[in-house]
Symmetry: C2
Subunit: 191 residues, 2 copies
């Protein structure tokens, strides 16, 4: 019996967005399901001493070019949002505050809104509008949803998740959409 | 007429070592030559505020695992050196202080010594022994060689090089061996 694949990402991560288009077909090919686990890169950055890519000298300029080229390479509609990056606390809370069967559609809708349609998902009002359009009414200001979100983010960090996307299969970690080639070989047969 | 591919790397970079096995066959397939350009990641880290992977919480542990898995994935003999990383100033100077026709064989020998044979190329004596075995007598303590090396490293930073490997083709930059798939498509046809 195969365990689900754990798919960690931040809603403001271009590479997470690209990976969100790839993970389900890849998992299905090897008889796996996917557990979507949004987290907050800001919390990971505190642990690693890192920072959002655009703010890093040299690497930031490269990253903007690489986002666009990677989207073309993977054949995914993409435009660099402005503002970028944004806080994804509201998006993350909306996800964990929604019923389980609504979460993946909501995640896809949030990603699409931000990276294809230019809607700033850093604003709670926009997040809630998207959630509402899917019939969700997440109580993102409730303590229960805040606590649930915090617990999920802490659990991700405890698993060693420091980037987005980050995939764990049977304990084996893969960071980045550029490890999906290794991920696929691993799903076929651990090496 | 196709321009050579600029191949930047640090001699202490596992991903640079893996890329060194791939770059020439890939370039040749598309009628290109390769200009090998060792640089010093330490200088790039100062510009980006980064640090050697093993020293970074969470990411360091992942990296060690990923080095080994990536080597298996690319089918390249590899063992994680100890000490790791090391200063590659002596190796870099030996490269730029050697005659042009000896440089690429020397680069390959230095990489192999460090990542396959467990020889610490952080020690100048080991670097010189390897150079001597190829008939090179680089004067790594001479001001001329120091200046040449410094100028090459500065030129790399000026081109935006911040990691290893880093490849530039006709002005288009590719960071990481995990961009070699995009690099190959670009060589076929820019996209």
């Amino acid at each position: 019996m195969c365990q689900p694949i754990d798919f960690y990402f931040d809603f403001s991560s271009p590479y997470g967005y690209l990976a969100a288009h790839k993970i389900e077909p890849l998992a299905a090919k090897y008889g796996r399901s996917v557990t979507w686990r949004p987290m907050l890169l800001g919390a990971a950055f505190k642990a690693t001493g890192s920072a959002p890519l655009p703010s890093i000298p040299l690497k930031g300029d490269y990253a903007k070019r690489d986002f666009l080229r990677s989207a073309r390479f993977h054949n995914v509609a993409f435009r660099l949002p402005d503002p970028f990056p944004v806080s994804t606390v509201a998006a993350c809370r909306a996800f964990y505050g929604s019923p389980e069967e609504k979460r993946v559609p909501l995640a896809k809708a949030l990603f699409r809104a931000y990276f294809a349609d230019g809607v700033s998902i850093g604003e709670a009002a926009n997040v809630l509008k998207i959630a509402n359009s899917l019939g969700c009414r997440p109580e993102i200001d409730s303590q229960a949803v805040k606590d649930k979100t915090r617990a999920e983010v802490d659990a991700a960090l405890a698993k060693g998740v420091f980037g987005s996307p980050y995939v764990i299969v049977d304990g084996e970690p893969f960071w980045g959409i550029d490890r999906f080639d290794q991920l696929e070989r691993w799903l076929r047969e651990p090496f």
